[in-house]
Structures are given as C-alpha cells and as structure tokens.
Symmetry: C3
Subunit: 420 residues, 3 copies
Amino acid sequence: MWGENIATADLFANATDIHSIVQALTTLANASDVFFLVVMGVLVFMMQWGFAMLEGGQVRKKNVNNVMMKNMVDWLIGCVAWLFIGGILCSKGFDLSAFIDWWKQILGTNWPNNGLDLASWFFGLVFCATAATIVSGGVAERIKFSAYVLISLIITGLLYPLFVYLGPWGASIVPWHDYAGSLVVHGLGGFLALGAIAALGPRIGRFVDGRPVPILGHNIPMAVFGAFALAIGWYGFNVGSSLALGDISGLVCATTTMAMAGGGIGALIASRNDVLFTANGIVAGLVAICSGTDVVSPIGGLIIGLIAGLQVPIVYKLVEKAGLDDVCGVVPVHGTAGVIGAILTGILGLKIFGGAGGVSLIDQIIGAVFCIIYGTGLGYILAKIVGIALGGLRVSEEEEKMGLDMAEHKMPAYPEETVI
Amino acid sequence: MWGENIATADLFANATDIHSIVQALTTLANASDVFFLVVMGVLVFMMQWGFAMLEGGQVRKKNVNNVMMKNMVDWLIGCVAWLFIGGILCSKGFDLSAFIDWWKQILGTNWPNNGLDLASWFFGLVFCATAATIVSGGVAERIKFSAYVLISLIITGLLYPLFVYLGPWGASIVPWHDYAGSLVVHGLGGFLALGAIAALGPRIGRFVDGRPVPILGHNIPMAVFGAFALAIGWYGFNVGSSLALGDISGLVCATTTMAMAGGGIGALIASRNDVLFTANGIVAGLVAICSGTDVVSPIGGLIIGLIAGLQVPIVYKLVEKAGLDDVCGVVPVHGTAGVIGAILTGILGLKIFGGAGGVSLIDQIIGAVFCIIYGTGLGYILAKIVGIALGGLRVSEEEEKMGLDMAEHKMPAYPEETVI
Amino acid sequence: MWGENIATADLFANATDIHSIVQALTTLANASDVFFLVVMGVLVFMMQWGFAMLEGGQVRKKNVNNVMMKNMVDWLIGCVAWLFIGGILCSKGFDLSAFIDWWKQILGTNWPNNGLDLASWFFGLVFCATAATIVSGGVAERIKFSAYVLISLIITGLLYPLFVYLGPWGASIVPWHDYAGSLVVHGLGGFLALGAIAALGPRIGRFVDGRPVPILGHNIPMAVFGAFALAIGWYGFNVGSSLALGDISGLVCATTTMAMAGGGIGALIASRNDVLFTANGIVAGLVAICSGTDVVSPIGGLIIGLIAGLQVPIVYKLVEKAGLDDVCGVVPVHGTAGVIGAILTGILGLKIFGGAGGVSLIDQIIGAVFCIIYGTGLGYILAKIVGIALGGLRVSEEEEKMGLDMAEHKMPAYPEETVI
C-alpha cells in the first residue's frame, strides 16, 4: 500500500491527443469535485460538535449528557431520514418515480464519476442536520428525549427538505437569493425553535412572578470552544456552497471572515464585554452572511456582521420579555440574524452599494416572511402534535428538577462530582 | 509574499502543445495527490486528539494527565519508529537494501514529484499511530507509563508494520479485502489490547468477590467530544484510503456516513439511551465499515453499522464476565467490530447483495481469525516481556490508589480541585 | 441545488483544442489554488481555538473567561486591522496609492480568478492573528482587557505587517530564509510578549521574597487539547506556505511531523515526564521547523525539534530567574524556539548536512538578532505607551485577586461552582 504510488498522474500517462487529455481531465475534475465536497462537508459536519459544545456549556451540569445525546442522535437520525427521503424530496418534491429510482440506486454500488452524486448527497445531508440541531438549543433542559428525537426525524425527513424544495435551492416556488442558507437553514432552524419554545413553555424557575430569572450554563469556556468550532466549520458551509471546485470563490471566504468579525465586535459592544454574547455574536454574523456571501463586498460583509451581532442581545431581551425561554438564544442567533442577513443581501448586494447585483430587496423580504411563517407555524404545530403523540412534550416536574441526565439517561455528566 | 501571487495557473502559461500540457498536468496531478494525502492524513491525525478525549473522559480525575501523556507520547514515538523502521517494513518486509536506500534518502531533501513519497509516508504514519493508541484505552489507570511507551514503540516499529506486510496492504501472504483497515488497524489494535489486558489484570476494585463493579469515568461530555472528533477524522481515514485523488470515491463517503449512523442507533437501542454506549457505537460503526466501505451499498453500510453498534454493549458484558477489565471497551469497539465488519464485507460486498463483488467470505473469515490470533497472542506476549524487562507491568498498588497523575507525572489534572 | 450537478468537469465539455484546454486548465488551477489556500487557512484559523485551550488550561478558574475573550477579540480585531491596513502594509509598505487601490477594491465584488487575491489575503490574515495571539499567553491573569485589545490592534495593524515588510516575505530589507515564519510569526510573537511581560510585571504571589512560586493552571487536559489542535493546524501553517497548490511539498509535511516528534520527546526528557512541558515541547518543535521546513531533511527536522524541545524547560527557568512572569512560557515556546529554528536552518539547510542549500548561517543569525531587538523593544515600548494611554496596563490589585472574569466580564467561567 505505501511506497508503491498509485498516482493521479497515471491518468495522463497515455494522454497523447486532445480527446484523451480531455477524458483524463474530466476524471480529474470529477475527483476534484468529490474531494472538494467531502472536505467542505466534513467541515460542516464539525459544526455538529460545535453545537454540542455551544449548547452543552449553556446548560446546567444535570442536563449536559442529555444535550450530548440530542446532538448525537439528531445527526444519526438525520443521516437515515436524508438517505431515504430528505435527499430526494428537497430536489424532486413528491415525485414517486424519482424516489423509486433513488431507492434502487442506494441498494447498489453503481455510482459513476467517482461517486459525485453521493458526495453531493453528503454535502446536502450536513446542511439538513445543521437546521435540525439548531432547534435543540432552544428547547433544552425540559423537552422529553423521545419527543426531541421524533421532532428531529420530521424536520430532517420532511419540514427542512420541503422548505428547500419550495425555496431557491429547489423548485424556487418562493425565489430569493440564499447562497448558503441564511434563511433556508438558519432562519428555518431559528423559527422552528421559536414555535417549539412557545409550545413547550419555559423551564421551572426561569420566570418568577413574570420576572425573568437568568439560569446560567455550567461551563462558559465549553460554549466558547463551540463557537470556535462553528466558525471553523462555517468556511465549509459558505465556501462549499459553490457545490463545485470550479466555481469556488475567494470573495465568499473574505465576506464570511469579515461578517464573523463584525458579528463578534457588534455583540461585544452591545453587551459590554459579555463572553457568551460575544461568542454568539460571532455565530450570528456568520448566519447573516450566508445569504449574500457571494454578492456583497468585503466591507458589505463587515456591515452585515456588525448589524447581526448588535441585534443579538437586543432580540434576546425581547424574546425574554415575551415570556419565552430560549435557552441558547437560537432565535436571535439563527432566526432574526438569518432574516437580517437575507434582507441586507437585497440592499448591499445591489450594484450601487458595491454588490454584484442580480438580487431584489422585495424577493428577499418575501423569502424572510415566508421563512418566519413556515418556521414558527410548523414548529409550533409539530411540537404540539408530538406532545400529543407521546403523552406530553416535557419531562415531569420531578424529572426536570432531578435533571435529564439521570431521569432520561441514568448517568451524570461528571460522575465523580455527583453522588449517584 | 501576499499580494504577488505565485499561482498554479503559471504551470500552463507556456503550455502550447500536447507534450507541454501533459507535463504541466503531471505536476498538477502530483501536487493534487500530495494535497489530498496531507488533508486526509491531517484528518486522521485529528483522531489522536479524539482518542485522548474519548479515553480521558472515561477515566477518573486522578488518571487523566496520564491518559494525556500516553496519547501524546505514543504519537511522538510512532513518528520516530515509523520513520526509521515501520514505513519500510510494512511494504518491503525485512529487505535490508530497501532500509538502507530509505535511510539514505531521509538524510537528504531529494524528493521528486512534490515529495509525493513523503506525503504517502505521512498517510501511512497516521494509520500506524491509530492502531497503537487503541491499546491505551484498554490498559488505562494501572499500566506503568514506561511500560506503555515501550509497548507503543514495539507496536509502531514492528507488530503493526509486520501485520500490514503479511496482509492485503503488503505482500498479501494472508489476502483479504480491507480498504481502510477494519482488521489491519482496528481489529489488530483491539485484540492487541485484549492480550495486554489479560496480561495486566484488572484495576483495584473493578471486581469484588468476582462480581463486576463499574468504575465510571470523570467527564462524559469529554468522551462524547472524543467520539465527534473521531467521526470527523474518519472521513480522512476512509476517503483517504484511495491513496490518490484520481481514485477518490463518493460511495466511500456515503457508506462511512451510514455505518456511523447505524452504529450509533444500534448501540442507542441495545443500551437503552446510554450516552457512552451511543458514542462508542458511533465509533464501532465506523470501525466496521472500513473493510468494505468501497464495495458495499449505502444500505449495506447502514446494516454493517447497525450490527456493529448492537454488539458493543453485548460484547462489553461478555469481556467483563470473563473477568477482564477493558476500561474503554476497546475490544467490542475496535476488536469485534472490526471482525464483524470484515466478515460482513464478504457478504454485503457480493454482487447478489448489491455489492461491487471481488470479495470472498472465506478470505474475510481467514483474515479475521489471523487478526484475532496475531493480535491477542502477540499482545499478551509483548505485555509479559515488557513486564519482565521493566520489573513489572503495573504501577504499585499504592501508586494506583494515589492515581497515576501524581505517581508518574507529579501533576494533578485539575490543580485547583486537588490539595497537592 | 442537490441532485443537479454543476460539475467542474463542465469546464472541459467544450475543450476541443490546445487553446480551449489551456483556458479551462487555468480556471481549474486558480480554483484549486483558492481551495488550497482556504483549506490551509482554515487549519491555521483552528490554531486560534488551540491557543484559547492551551492558555485557558494554564490559568486559574477565575481568569478563564478573560482568556476566552482575549482569544476571540484579538481575532475579531485582527480581521478588521488586516483588511484595512495590515494586508497591504506587509507587501507594499507605506505606498499610499496601493492602499487607495485596495480600499476601492474591498468596496466591490470584482475579484477575478475565482477571488484568488482574497484567498491569499485570508491566508495572510490567519498568520497575522497567530503572531498577535501568542502575546496573550505571556500577559495573562493581570493585563487590562482594554489594554490587550489596543495592543492587539497595533500588532495586527502595524508591528506585524511592518516586520513582514522588512523581512523575507516583503521587501527583504533584512533577508533570511523563513519558509513558514519561525521568526516572522513566532519569534516576533514570543519577543513582543517578552517586552510586554517586562513592562507589565509579575502576578501577585508569583514571586515571594524573590523566590518563584508556581501558580498552576486549572485544567491540564484543556491545555493538552490545545497543543493537539495547534499541531493539527500547523500542517496548514507549514504545508500552506507554498502559497500555491503547484508548489506544495511532501518534504514540508514530513519535516513538520518529525520536528513535532522531536519537540515533544526533547521536552519529555528534559522535564522528566511533565505533561505541560511535553505538550509545550510539541509546540516548540513545530515553531522551530517553520523556518527551514522546506530545506532540511526529515532527520534534520527531528534534530531541530529535539533541540527546540530540550530548551523549553531550561529557558523557562532562566526567564523565571530573571523575575519575569511568562504565564504560558511563550518566550521559550515561541521566542527562543523560533530563534533556534532559524539559526539551525542556516546549518542543517546546507547541502553538506543533507539540506537543499540556498541558505546562509549569517543571514539567519542577522534575522534572529533583528527579531529579538524589534520584538522585545517594540513590545516593551508598545505596552508602556498603552499603559499610559489607558491609565494603567494592569487591573487593580483588588480586581486581580477577585479574578478578571468577574472584574472585567461580570461572569464566572463555571457558574455552578462559584457563588456569584
């Protein structure tokens, strides 16, 4: 295996004319696309670990294992739902023949062009799993594990792929510009969470006599490491969204970087040096830039990030004032940041503002409204239906006080610190 | 440096005929292979960090620094052993002239084709280090640090490369299909650990009057983060095993993903929502798919993963019943999962089951038996010899009770929580 | 989006003659360079997370959130400083017209060749941010957050880019061989820290009656995970420094690996199994190899690493003896390791020692001396000026005792373990 090199250069060993060169180049190009989609997809898959740390750090010790299980299991279930349903629904809608062709193909190993279709399937999967796992951060510390698993299954198998199909990545029934999913992934995740949060109700002790009482997480550095891992993975999220090596864009890399910087600085200023808001501001800046990362200038990226970061502490307080317990602030970090990003794309993407053009503010606003209604509405309805189906959406009051780690998984997160 | 772009495109600036184009393409192809092997190798190297977290979370506070040292030092030693011996032994066997040529070459900087041979050497190294570090999880909390270092040196310098040479990646004296090492790396690591565990004996208090008494690790989230890091790295492990960009396979990416999902879901079900078994089930699914990841269908991958995940809690109990103290469950997660994966490759790799064909169940069974005997036998013998050479394999009872962090490294893992 | 493949292979669909093939190849080459620079740059960006863990683990619980904020904010500020000033100053010096052209360009989206210039800009940014964040580890646990932010701004906007411009990556006014920045990044960062440490003074209780009193960090495994993340990122640091896919070098990958091994083993031996020194030895080996990673042999890399690792505990003691409180040992790990690596490049890079040649020991010594003077001098002056500008460089004694997390950020790192 090592030492004897099977080299890609062998492709060109017998290339002696135009035709044979082009044939060899086509193989190299397909292989390069598979490599591109796998590396970018693995970076996005790293965001599952990032979300587990970001959410894990922001919950109490007695619920950390439950967060670990939710973040592992929504990925595991997402893979199966995306293989059998999601991956086809999102591009072909409810076309039964397309499903049957696909089911036949995944029973075999006949995948031409170095398996490019499966690399593309993988890149779609990690986007779907990201949308689903965002909800976890909003409903933490009181949702039943079985309810969360069922909600994840329905999001990854139906709600997300259908939203994709209706939006710009599918049949464009509702067309807006969304290069890497400010609305398709993050806005949807954030507003699905809003609906579920409303259906679920707040944690015990989160509001006392209508007054909000902060419930701090157990490990702030763990949450910051989560933000770092998300920021690293985000380069796969945005730069990978060219879907082909040949269309990769250095501009997307730069606007992603500057929006991250703007998001962190905006939240740092608005929260007066708060560690968690600064970390979440970085994520909000990255959420906001997804939509227009390919059509705004680097300065435009910085501006989008700044606005997205500044709004995080503000919207967090508004959600709290509405009596909603959004544990990890997913509504401001993914919901409203996604909407703001999409709308600003319709402005800073215009040529007069240095953008590449080809965007319309109206389309962006329509997309945003559609996302808010689709997400919040279906998030609420889904949570209520699952609650009925499982005899309740929440663990019992006694279980919530004991902590979900012991109640649902029979194991504390830090055994030597807990008398079992 | 920045701003003035030395671009790869310059390769083609003077390409004016077939010959000059092919020459430039050969350079691009070699450079792309080096880039491919480095990126995939770095993902596998990330698994060293994953193993450090997976094992670190599953030991008590008083032994965490010792786990950190074992996982750093088996890598450091593996680099040296692989440079001087392992990297040649695995492909050329005991051919002295090949060793001499290699030793001359590593004293210099003459490495043609963009140093492709050294990129290939690096990719072989990270596989070797993975096999060695698996043993660490089985022998934790009571092995002498010096004994572990010596065992690692012999595994990375002799036992692993020799096993590679005898198997399908070397001279194929024992031929079986093992695309990314279900047996060559993980089965070997798991059964070497079994042999060493048997030679070492259990931790104090692990069995009382013959009854097993669980000794919980100190940080379950740390272990789960380890499983996430391993899963991320595994895409380098499997997809990188094409060894050349031109042979990359999207099918390998998909079967790896589905086996991960099957492994986690299988262990989740078999352990009734246990956090550690679910995380280890994800790893077991990934171990099992290595062998046939290129010849089974995506559904085949899911099935292999499910079976590998289901068996983890079952085999863990059997090993425990046999009075063996496998701290991190490396026998079920790497040993039996590797064997199951290899054997199922001989079934689900057949054309009648949608596989790509070119596999034989008999070969797979022979390879599995060879791996179990070679690993367990040499693991036991090696541990016994090292024990004799160092005046004992284990730290003293007093040191084991104090904890290896203070006994062997004079520093607690969490200084502010420990009175020194 | 998924399912309908826009493939890179389409580039060659209409390539029917030499000219059209070369045109398509130029696009593929540029896209490959952008992909190369983004992936390598993301690996280096991962080192920000590595530094946050390495430093976070080596400070006490009451200062961990402050370390998180410093490591997030020096990145955020670095992005902005590098976009507006640093990225141009480093290659064009104080050429106003070059600044104006650049500022015009970043207000727009006109970036040819797949945005290759912006990918190159991004790769420069992550190097700059690395140099700045090294200082954080030296000044931890007593510097004002506002002072640190201002120091980072001036390092990333002025001191680092100017040093680059003067050195081998810019106008080469002081020419030495520094492939990936032993001096340009790490030596500079280490000696800037030395100057700032001298200006800042030690932590309360670090020296009692002139005798050094160790102040242990709170989480050694966190620091080791930081070293792992840095080592992973370092492959981007060194292998990415070819700046173009076509010039990638497998030799750089191998010498980087062997220097890492030498560094860890050297520090392990010199510190007699100390966990933190071994982890920092790995980093020191990687620092030292940056300069000559492309011109020394794999054995040369091992030797450079060994020497760099051996010196870490020795220089740490010398700095301590000088009454200087270098919390994370950045002077031996980045400063002197960088100088040693640069000088050894002038020896082991020579042909007689198996090197590729083209290096001069005199140049390397001149570069080292220039770096020590530039770094220590400007580090000291900058810290003093910032101290004056902000009414003091340090937090008050009372704040230092309370801990910077509560004093500067109003939030403990582990809320459930602290009575707020």
